[in-house]
Symmetry: C2
Subunit: 322 residues, 2 copies
Amino acid sequence: MKELAIGIDIGGQSAKLGVVDRDGCILDSCVVTSMQPTFDAFISDLADAIKSLCDSTASAGRVTGTGADAPNANYHTGCVEFAPNLKWGRDGEGRPTVIPLAESLAKATGLKVSLTNDANAAAWGEHTYGAARGIDNFIMITLGTGVGSGIVIDGKLVYGHDGFAGELGHVCVERGGRQCNCGLKGCLETYASATGVARTARLWIQENSRPSLLRRLDAEAITSKDIFEAALAGDSLAKDIFAYTGRKLGQAMADFVKFSAPQAIVLFGGLGGSRQFFHDEMVREMNENLMEIWKGKIQILYSTLKQSDAAILGAASLVWQK
Amino acid sequence: MKELAIGIDIGGQSAKLGVVDRDGCILDSCVVTSMQPTFDAFISDLADAIKSLCDSTASAGRVTGTGADAPNANYHTGCVEFAPNLKWGRDGEGRPTVIPLAESLAKATGLKVSLTNDANAAAWGEHTYGAARGIDNFIMITLGTGVGSGIVIDGKLVYGHDGFAGELGHVCVERGGRQCNCGLKGCLETYASATGVARTARLWIQENSRPSLLRRLDAEAITSKDIFEAALAGDSLAKDIFAYTGRKLGQAMADFVKFSAPQAIVLFGGLGGSRQFFHDEMVREMNENLMEIWKGKIQILYSTLKQSDAAILGAASLVWQK
């Protein structure tokens, strides 16, 4: 009987679930809202969805476990801890609190549940099914609305003492720089995420008078997609914004290498689609900031998983962690 | 029969050897020059010294292995790779080259040999015998002539893909900052090592006219010890130099925490003796640069090993790695 795993990607709006086999085929999937007012209602919906998925794929194999990712999830405790954007993740007075997600879901389904954050799940998904297969030392950087990271050393995800290792989006790349949502200033995320790129555009449009297609747009509403399209159309300011982003990312990546000496850095997420405009600057800047022993030796890879499948595959892959 | 280990700390001038038991007692020790012109002569001297040590401690136990640390040592390959300061570490034309130290020493002694750099050995020594006993996730930072580091995650030293992980002394703390020996600019080592502290003193004495005991000294010859003594005597410039050093170190430490979420950071090395003048600033700055989840939660420890024994203990402890 084939071994199957359930993968659940929990976000503020919805939870995407799928049944995945060892080869990374998604046999069936569904979506459940995660806007329920109570945690019990959410768990009950999830358990029902899992039961349906197990039933619909019963002829293909047996589900042996569940992997889930959620914001602010702690692998060690199996809890979601103080997540600001989860409706059911709150105490009686509406404040974000600690929610025992893995334990509750295991009780409701009878399945073993592994829980971590989305960047760790993405890293393990890439190691199990994607660009990092066979690579036991790498750093995954997710370039989305924010910047996340998952670190794999000697074939194992790094969780750290408290379960929160790998917050590389909040490494300082500019002392006293841009204000970040986390409370700190100058975090990599404020420069190298989709929102960071848009922020660069708004600042540069205000600060100088270079002509740009971007000036036709409402500055406050500019997105990284607008900047990508302007760059595609040959707009030099838009191109420079991506080059600047690449340099910031490359500088940070050089320092990450000095920590764990990875074989590769794997990039994932929406911004990666604009790589043609930042890749070269990023790699050049990384190598310029590396000692001789590493110059030109760190592989830069991009996720090979289909964007729409990656979240479920990453979550499911947690079941097969060593 | 008690298990014993040989520890060898290899520097540019000499190699210190000792026989160590599981409790961290050094039963016997000796010193061999490491200025021999050829590698074969050095290995032959080391093998003779090891034989003597084994003989002199034969009644106490049986030596089961050798741990050694050396500059530019690679754990994975057991080689010293391109070390600029080792006389015998050169090719026919006098250029630093790759020397198979572990293999050669194993052949000459019949003992298994583990080799790594001094900061990794210091970290493992601290885990086995010192301040980090029972702590499975920590970062060791050695504050000596340079700044080294050893990273322990889940009870294992991190060597990385190529054996060179943990070069945190070369993380950039000031973009375009001070020139480092490694070729990069703004490395932590150029601020937070003994030589970095002396460099700060020289710069500050030139840049401003604040009165200071340090002005009585030859600026080019100022050492971190001079600055420590001035600070002890109440000199405010000297105190500010250490406070500045503490802030640089604290900022860097905050970013290290975001990588591996350690339980503790352990400090070791000569500069640690001046901790009364930098500890508070370092801890404050680290916490100011950490997200809420970590503020006030990272333990700062100082090595508890006797400075004169630490190198041998660290090297010997490698024998007992998992």
